[in-house]
């Protein structure tokens, strides 16, 4: 069981990182001020907090599955293998992202912008595909339909979160654009 919770913890950390990045991305391009430190700080923290709401359903489903499974050891073993499969895809993706971020600390403008061109931009572009590939990989390790549904649910909520954040920003923007009465 410890193994399973270890995988859950790693996936949780990756999800939180993804929520933070979503917060940054969805807030970008909406403020034309130069100093946006506080703006982005708030956006990232808000996204991380709101993101947890999107974890409730998949986490709840996971624990429900664990509690209600007739063949618990088999389900746990399946889940462990499925999560291992997901991590085989998500960890390299995350490492590439962290590599890009660490290169950006080099104080050379060309280095920083090259990371955008070669890594950050393309990584954002392939993110939905990576999420789906992670689940597909997980499925190759599992025989339980419930595990597949759980994985699909998790990916759906993670991807839907970005759309939700975009919607929130748009709504806030529209409200600001309304003439003052």
């Amino acid at each position: 069981m410890m193994h399973l919770y270890g995988y859950i913890c790693i996936l949780y950390v990756l999800a939180v990182l993804d929520f933070g990045c979503c917060g940054f991305r969805t807030a970008s391009g909406r403020s034309a001020l130069l100093n946006k430190y506080n703006y982005f700080k708030n956006a990232v923290f808000t996204a991380i907090l709101l993101g947890h709401l999107f974890l409730v359903v998949p986490m709840g489903a996971l624990f429900f599955l664990l509690e209600s499974a007739a063949d618990k050891p088999q389900v746990v073993s399946d889940l462990e293998q499925a999560m291992q499969g997901m991590l085989c895809v998500y960890i390299p993706y995350t490492l590439l992202f962290l590599l890009a971020m660490s290169i950006r600390t080099i104080p050379l403008v060309d280095c920083k912008s090259l990371t955008s061109i070669l890594l950050l931009g393309p990584l954002t572009f392939v993110r939905p595909m990576v999420a789906v590939i992670g689940i597909a990989t997980a499925m190759t390790f599992s025989q339980h339909a419930e595990v597949f549904i759980l994985g699909a649910l998790a990916v759906f909520f993670v991807l839907a979160f970005e759309l939700f954040m975009e919607y929130l920003h748009e709504r806030r923007g529209r409200r600001r654009a309304l003439p003052q009465s």
Binding site: S28, G29, R30, A32, L34, V109, I117, G121, T124
Partner: protein, 311 residues
């Protein structure tokens, strides 16, 4: 996709606003005429974007709505400028240039950003540029709404710079350095481009440099990925990709600048990610009065290797 990548047609932002060349007064724009213009190029995407724009009863585009859209578009464009550290790139050229012009001369230096939009570069230079005493940075644009927004943003962060709705070449105060970003590709015909450079030949102007997309085989695809990923307005997607597809080659830029700005030594700066052979997203057309050339190249230091054939 084909129509978006067609370099023949105009950008949406070229057609949805129009100004009187002399008074800079906003002229009404008929939505149907703009749609028909894009129909000529079979540009269905642009037609759809324009058809969705708000109009007045007479079928004219609603100016207030267009201005709001353009402010939003410039805000999204600023995101790319920030991601690519554009402010730093402008500063990297300005600092040695100012040092060159300062040699034995303490008269004020006035830098004017042509087509500044919401003034990102101007505000960035004024806030972080450390350009020294006696250097004034100003932005000009034909669109009053963008200028008002630029002024508002500068005031909100207490940044000392000026924004004017004006023709950059007929300003009352003398300009020392002209700069711009993403403006050159809007002059389609080489004659128009040459004319633009000819306008630089004012007595006060000592140098100019203009950043623009560098065309290459991968530029439209790269631009498409970045605009889809980083921007939300369909107008941005369309115009951003088209800008990359129809940008002028460095040969055209150099030729037109040498023909137009005859009193300047002109060359390209920063075409490649030095020391690699990979092309940069933006390249820079650089022009300087010949008397300053040697000193400027010396002040550029190691970066002088990025300057091609300044003559």
């Amino acid at each position: 996709m084909r129509t978006i990548y067609s370099a023949d047609g105009p950008e949406i932002s070229d057609l949805i606003v129009s100004y009187d060349g002399l008074t800079l007064e906003r002229l009404p724009v008929n939505q149907r005429q703009v749609v028909e213009e894009f129909r000529k190029y079979e540009n269905n995407f642009a037609m759809r974007v324009v058809e969705k724009l708000k109009t007045t009863d007479g079928g004219l585009l609603d100016n207030a709505n267009i201005d709001q859209l353009l402010i939003k578009v410039h805000c999204e464009m600023q995101r790319l400028a920030e991601e690519f550290y554009h402010g730093n790139r402008v500063k990297d050229l300005l600092v040695p240039l100012i040092a060159t012009l300062r040699a034995g001369n303490n008269s004020p230096i006035r830098i004017v950003d042509i087509g500044c939009g919401t003034g990102y570069v101007v505000r960035w230079l004024a806030k972080y540029g450390q350009l020294g005493e006696g250097v004034e940075v100003a932005g000009v644009d034909l669109n009053k709404a963008l200028i008002d927004e630029a002024s508002r943003l500068a005031a909100e962060e207490n940044i000392q710079c000026k924004f004017l709705q004006a023709n950059a070449f007929t300003l009352s105060e003398p300009t020392t350095i002209f700069i711009s970003t993403g403006v050159l590709h809007h002059f389609r015909a080489p004659d128009d481009l040459t004319m633009f450079f000819r306008s630089h030949q004012l007595d006060s102007v000592q140098a100019f440099f203009h950043f623009d997309f560098q065309p290459n085989v991968l530029a439209p695809l790269g631009s498409w990925i970045f605009h889809i990923m980083r921007m939300r307005e369909p107008l941005c997607w369309h115009d951003g990709v088209l800008s990359a597809a129809r940008a002028h080659s460095w040969q055209t830029l150099v030729e037109c600048s040498r023909n137009g700005a005859a009193g300047f030594a002109c060359g390209m700066y920063g075409r490649k990610y030095w020391p690699t052979p990979f092309p940069r997203v933006f390249h820079t057309l650089f022009g300087i009065r010949p008397i300053w050339r040697e000193q400027f190249m010396e002040n550029l230091g190691i970066c002088a290797r990025q300057m091609d054939n300044l003559q």
